[in-house]
């Protein structure tokens, strides 16, 4: 898509100028005929008109549509993850928490069902997933003649666990040569810290780990990773601030090869999925890794558990750009529940693979659907 970009932008500029001018004209004319202008009264029409299918000779597609279409076509399909043994399973810290919601009730009225739905929404599950879940449970409670609140909650927990499983949550290793895991996500979610935790874990398991500081943008990002490399005994490969992140990745892979390292963890700069240039840069990083066939086995989207509904969009966009293989759900040691991962798994098929529960190097646990489902109702 990168060579199409200038063309897209030319088209875009023209479309924009025209659109803005037309809006401007309308506003200018409207101002003459009426004194106060209620914004939404004017602009919703615009949005509506766009959706309306044009007749009158307007069926020629704009350049923008052409370009976007091409870009979409170019998207590759997700490779099947390799099937390797689960090496996770150290601490199984429970997602403790008393059950809230409807567990004390002996019968379920409309209010009770509503509060169940609200409990889910409060856990950032999202309205549509919450409604779907509650409706499913309501139907099965009816057939099974279940009225008791705690039994209903049990049903709901099972429904959630079902939605989250089955999934392969192992972090895969390459069949031969150094394995590469790449970490992506929006700003401040915990990419660097998650890498630190994995470096600690894999190092303790006897693997030689290389950390690639491909965040050359944020102030002191490489220093931060460097401190973790020291603490975990991993090898750091970095560039100067502002250096090309691609060259850092390249060097890290070369270094891993020559040292016979087992694992390269690539730390990328935080970026919002809405920034086209930065997402292009990320694709480029992946292409550099992909030059060594089959080395890249995991692209982990790091997701902050406090994230709301935007999490789904993040997952969708990062998956479209770099074929995300799994989610690392961080900061679950707080009171946020991370309910958006339900939608991420059910709509995009991307499973949570690891969970962050603190700022320390050991604060990493595997994801357990049952415990997660139970914790969604914890206060």
């Amino acid at each position: 898509m990168s060579n199409l970009l200038p063309v897209l932008i030319v088209a875009l500029v023209i479309a924009l100028v025209a659109a803005v001018a037309v809006i401007g004209y309308r506003i200018a004319l409207a101002r003459r005929s009426q004194s106060t202008l209620l914004a939404p009264a004017l602009l919703p029409n615009l949005a509506e008109e766009q959706v309306e299918d044009a007749d009158g000779g307007l069926d020629s597609k704009s350049v923008i549509e052409d370009v976007l279409e091409e870009a979409t076509k170019a998207e590759a399909t997700r490779p099947d993850p390799l099937r390797l043994r689960d090496r996770l399973g150290r601490t199984r810290a429970a997602f403790a928490g008393a059950l809230a919601g409807v567990s004390g009730r002996s019968s379920m009225d409309d209010d009770a069902w509503e509060s169940l739905e609200e409990a889910l929404i409060s856990a950032d599950v999202g309205v549509s997933t919450a409604t779907r879940l509650v409706e499913a449970v309501r139907a099965s409670a009816k057939t099974a003649k279940i009225k008791d609140g705690s039994e209903v909650e049990g049903l709901l927990r099972r429904e959630i666990a079902l939605l989250l499983s089955p999934a392969d949550r192992t972090l895969q290793m390459a069949v031969s040569g150094p394995t590469v895991w790449m970490f992506v996500g929006v700003n401040g979610v915990g990419k660097t810290t998650t890498i630190a935790k994995l470096a600690t874990r894999e190092g303790a398991a006897g693997r030689h780990v290389v950390l690639a500081a491909a965040d050359t943008f944020r102030a002191a990002a490489a220093e931060q990773l460097g401190i973790w490399a020291e603490r975990s005994g991993a090898t750091l490969v970095r560039g100067d601030e502002g250096a090309d992140p691609g060259s850092v990745v390249f060097n890290a892979m070369a270094s891993a090869n020559s040292r016979g390292a087992d694992l390269v963890l690539v730390d990328t700069a935080g970026r919002l999925h809405t920034k086209v240039n930065l997402m292009e840069e990320l694709k480029k990083l992946r292409r550099i890794v992909d030059k060594t066939p089959d080395a890249l086995t995991e692209v982990i989207l790091v997701l902050d558990a406090t994230t709301g509904q935007n999490g789904l969009t993040q997952a969708r966009e990062f998956a479209a750009a770099v074929e995300v293989t799994g989610v690392a759900l961080t900061k679950l040691d707080g009171t946020a529940k991370g309910g958006i991962v339900l939608a991420i798994q059910s709509e995009l098929g991307i499973p949570v693979k690891i969970v962050g529960v603190g700022e320390g190097p050991e604060d990493l646990i595997p994801f357990d659907p049952e415990e997660f489902a139970a914790a969604l109702f914890g206060e």
Binding site: I27, L29, L68
Partner: protein, 444 residues
């Protein structure tokens, strides 16, 4: 996104057209749609409940019943209520009459405190103040280094615990005053470590730091992508240290930012600044009306209108209409248009405000130089070519590309897109409903 609330309303109101006033059932239905829109924007469930009951009250009132355009009327009420909740004016920092003024930043891990500290320092410096950055985060690896790098970038001194001196936040805070006095600094901006509100030890530390620095402004830094948890965070930090305001970060993404409403609704403290990007210039005062539109999924429609009102005169509009109607809209006219649009500000910013622009495009970095490229292409055409682009054949194309320092693909794109625009304008001025050449819908 844009269509969310207004689109849903339209459907409801179309169905009830012909009936004089809103029935209770209509209002319930409208309330459900508003609830959905707010929840999808991450406004907290409990906050939504309160909010809806207020809307319902007003929607049953006379102003809607008598209105000819109930849909707009309801949207207006929702918008007004949102603005009222978010705070109807833009709030400024409090300055200590006896310097230094102290700003203390707190919040969850990764919310953007350190970046916001540097952004604020830059802003205050540009207003003629002398800020000192204080690195009171001794938890996170390289946090001090991060602040020092940022401080250097904006040429603002950073106070931090030197090797050998006590490495804890309280001591740093304590010594910071001496440093401010020594350097003659009148504002201290204290960056603290990220912490969960349920982490008692770290919350106690924060209280201790607060007791020492006695902030003139205690600001909570909240990520705009935060979900339902925002209320718990805000309440807990407010109870522990007392808040005077909020900084909302990362609003350059496409999160609807309902957290802003949740936080404001539960602690009542104003949102003062917003972070609009990763670089230190990306920092602005908070505009409640824009945020309200954003939460409702209306983009920055209102500020777009403001800008357009300033840039276009009714006379220009009239003249342009004539040309469009007669199908005589040429590339020269387009150049004129471009000048007017430029008056509205950077095109990249305008694009972000436009409703219906797909997000794939919203992130495209369109800057003035790209406007310049388009202009260069048109200026490399002869008068005849501008009047009638159909004469532009292959060799003319490469001449134009060469002359403007662009590629023939770009020239082609321009011609093709201009044709679409011309048709759009013509059919619009003939009273047909146009489709803007920005695909505002999923790609078919």
């Amino acid at each position: 996104m844009f269509d969310s609330l207004s689109g849903r309303f339209d459907a409801i109101f179309t169905r009830m057209r012909g009936r004089g006033r809103l029935s209770d059932a209509d209002i319930d239905e409208i309330a459900r749609e508003i609830r959905l829109a707010l929840l999808e924007a991450d406004v907290n469930v409990r906050v939504v409940k309160d909010f809806i009951s207020r809307i319902k009250e007003r929607a049953t009132g006379a102003e809607v019943a008598k209105s000819l355009t109930p849909a707009q009327q309801v949207i207006k009420i929702v918008h007004e209520e949102l603005v009222a909740t978010l705070g109807s004016t833009t709030v400024k920092l409090t300055m200590n009459p006896k310097p230094p003024t102290v700003v203390m930043l707190s919040g969850l891990q990764g919310s953007g405190k350190t970046t916001a500290a540097a952004k604020l320092a830059r802003l205050l410096k540009s207003q003629g103040l002398q800020p000192l950055l204080v690195a009171a985060d001794l938890q996170r690896p390289a946090a001090v280094e991060q602040l020092r790098v940022l401080g250097k970038r904006i040429d603002v001194p950073v106070f931090y615990a030197k090797e050998g001196s006590p490495q804890n936040a309280v001591d740093v805070a304590l010594s910071a005053f001496d440093e401010a006095a020594r350097l003659g600094r009148n504002v201290m901006i204290v960056d603290t470590a990220g912490r969960l509100q349920i982490d008692e030890a770290l919350m106690d530390e924060l209280v201790a730091v607060r007791d020492i620095v006695k902030p003139t402004n205690s600001l909570l830094v909240v990520d705009a992508m935060t979900g339902q948890e925002a209320v718990n965070i805000a309440v807990a930090f407010d109870q522990a240290i007392g808040l005077d305001g909020v900084i909302l970060t990362k609003i350059d993404g496409d999160a609807r930012g309902g957290a802003a409403l949740s936080v404001k609704a539960v602690v009542g403290k104003p949102i003062i600044y917003v972070g609009t990007g990763e670089t230190l210039e990306d920092f602005e005062p908070f505009h409640p009306d824009r945020m309200a539109s954003r939460i409702l999924g209306m983009g920055d429609v209102l500020s777009l209108i403001e800008k357009a009102e300033a840039a276009f005169s009714a006379e220009d509009a009239q003249a342009a209409e004539e040309k469009m109607r007669s199908g005589q809209f040429t590339l020269d006219d387009f150049l004129d248009q471009m000048q007017q649009v430029r008056k509205m500000g950077p095109i990249g910013n305008i694009m972000k405000m436009l409703p219906g622009v797909p997000k794939e495009l919203k992130g495209a970095e369109v800057d003035e130089s790209q406007l310049g490229r388009v202009e260069a292409i048109i200026r490399s055409m002869t008068a005849q070519e501008r009047r009638d682009p159909s004469v532009i054949n292959g060799s003319r194309r490469s001449r134009i590309a060469k002359g403007s320092g662009t590629s023939t693909q770009e020239v082609n794109a321009l011609l093709k897109q201009f044709k679409t625009v011309q048709q759009m304008m013509k059919s619009m001025s003939q009273g047909k409903k146009p489709r803007l050449p920005i695909p505002g819908m999923p790609i078919r």
